[in-house]
C-alpha cells in the first residue's frame, strides 16, 4: 500500500538489485533508473476504480474457479476482519465450520470454506505472510494449489 511500505527495511534488496553485474545478469537495460521497492510515479498517479471486489469474486466463483483469501492476523493495513467480513458478505453458504488448522503440531490459524472460496488466517503473521510465517505459508500454499485439506 503506497510508495514506501511502513517499517519495512528493503535496503539489502535494493543494494543487490542495483549492482551493475546483477542488472546485467537480469538483462535490465542500462537506461533504466535504479530499482526501488515502490514507485512514487505510479503510486502518486494511480486511480482506484473499484471500491469493492464483491461482483468480480461472484463472477469468478460462478465459473467454478477456486479462491483463497488469507490474512496474517496482526496486520493493520489490510486487517483479517475486513477480509473475513468480505467473504461472509458474498452470501455463499458455508460448507465447513470455522476451525483451526495445524502446522508442525501447532495451531497455525483458522479457516472456513464457503464452497469454492476459503477464508484463512495465519496466526501471528503480519502483512507479508510468506516473510513472517514461511512454514505455515508454504503449507497453506501447497494445500490450496493441490486442492488438499488445510
Amino acid at each position: 500500500l503506497g510508495e514506501v511500505p511502513p517499517c519495512i527495511n528493503s535496503t539489502a534488496q535494493m543494494n543487490w538489485l542495483n549492482r551493475g553485474d546483477v542488472r546485467k545478469a537480469l538483462h535490465i537495460p542500462d537506461m533504466l533508473p535504479p530499482w526501488d521497492i515502490c514507485s512514487d510515479d505510479v503510486g502518486g498517479n494511480y486511480t482506484t476504480q473499484y471500491q469493492t471486489m464483491k461482483d468480480v469474486y461472484l463472477k469468478l466463483l460462478s465459473m467454478g474457479l477456486r479462491a483463497l483469501v488469507y490474512n496474517g492476523d496482526t496486520d493493520m493495513a489490510c486487517n483479517f476482519l475486513g477480509d473475513q467480513w468480505f467473504v461472509e458478505d458474498l452470501g455463499i453458504k458455508a460448507t465447513t465450520k470455522y476451525q483451526s488448522w495445524i502446522h508442525d503440531d501447532q495451531i497455525a490459524g483458522f479457516y472456513q470454506q464457503y464452497g469454492n472460496i476459503t477464508f484463512l488466517t495465519v496466526k501471528g503473521a503480519g502483512h507479508m505472510v510468506p516473510q513472517w510465517a514461511p512454514g505455515p505459508a508454504f503449507h497453506m500454499f501447497q494445500s490450496f494449489i493441490t486442492n488438499g485439506p488445510y
Binding site: 546483477v22 538483462h27 514507485s39 496474517g72 493493520m76 493495513a77 489490510c78 475486513g82 477480509d83 503480519g126
Partner: protein, 293 residues
Amino acid sequence: QYVPDETTHLPGMMFKPNYRQWSGYLRAGPGRFLHYWFVTSQSDPLKDPLVLWLNGGPGCSSLDGFLSENGPFHVNDNGATLYENKFSWNKIANVLYLESPAGVGYSYSDDLNYKTNDNQVAADNYAALQSFFNKFPNFTQNEFFIFGESYGGIYAPTLSLLVATGPAKFNFKGFAVGNGISSFALNDQTLIYFGYYHGLFGEDLWHDLNKNCCEKGTCNFYNSTSEDCKELVYEAFDTVYESGLNAYALYLDCEGHSRFHRGYERTMTHLFKNYRKPQQSHKFLNRGPSSVS
C-alpha cells in the same frame, strides 16, 4: 523456453540452484514493458502448477515478494550475497514474478507516462501474460493460479476475470489474495474494531466513537457525515498508522524507513479515503505529534 532471457549466473549466489530461471521483459501494451523473473519448480516443472505472484502498492514491486517473501533465495543484510529460502514456493510450483504496472521496479514505459488505473493494470497484466506464454509455450498446459498481496487484492481478481473470460486459453484454476484490499469500506470499518479489541484505544475514545458514529446499534466508521465522528475516526487512524506502531505487523518493531517518510504518509492514503486530517486534529489528541521517533 526463451533462451535469451535465461539467467545462468547471479552475483552473490554461493549455491547451485536446482531449477532454471529467466529474467527479461514482457510486452504489456504499446511501448509498455513489464520486467518478469520466472523460476521453474524444484520438483517437476512440466507437471507442477504455474503461479503468477503480484505484490500491491499500488506501485510496489513483486521482487519484494521474490527476495523477501516466497522466492527461492533472499538477500543477506550485506546486500551482496544470497541465501536459499527453504520454504520457497517454487519447491512445488513454477513461479512467475511480474513487476506491475509499468514504472514499478525495472518495468517501464517508453513515454515515461505512469498514470494508470485498476482496469488498465488488469489489461496490461493480461497482455503481459500472453507475452509470457509466447516465450514459454510449454507452460500453457500447466494448471495456472494467480496470487496477489495487499493492493494485489484488486490486481488478482480483475486479472483473473480477464483470464477466465478472455480469448487466450490458459489452464486457469483459481486465484488467491493475501492480506488484500477487497473492500475499502469493510477494511476501514473493521480496523476500528481491530484497534479497540487489540487494546490500541482507551475507553474514552471507544465511548466517543460509539456515541458519535453509531445509531441504534449500527456503526459507520467508514463514511459518516458527522464531523465529530470523522475526527474521532481520524484519531483512531492516527494511533494505528502514525503513533509508532508497525502497521504491517502489530507485534513487530518498526524498522527501516522512518514512519514520517513522505511516502509513508501517502502509504496510507488508500485507506480511510473519506477522512482527511481535520484542521484541529489535535482537538481530540490533546497532544502534539507523536514524539516516538
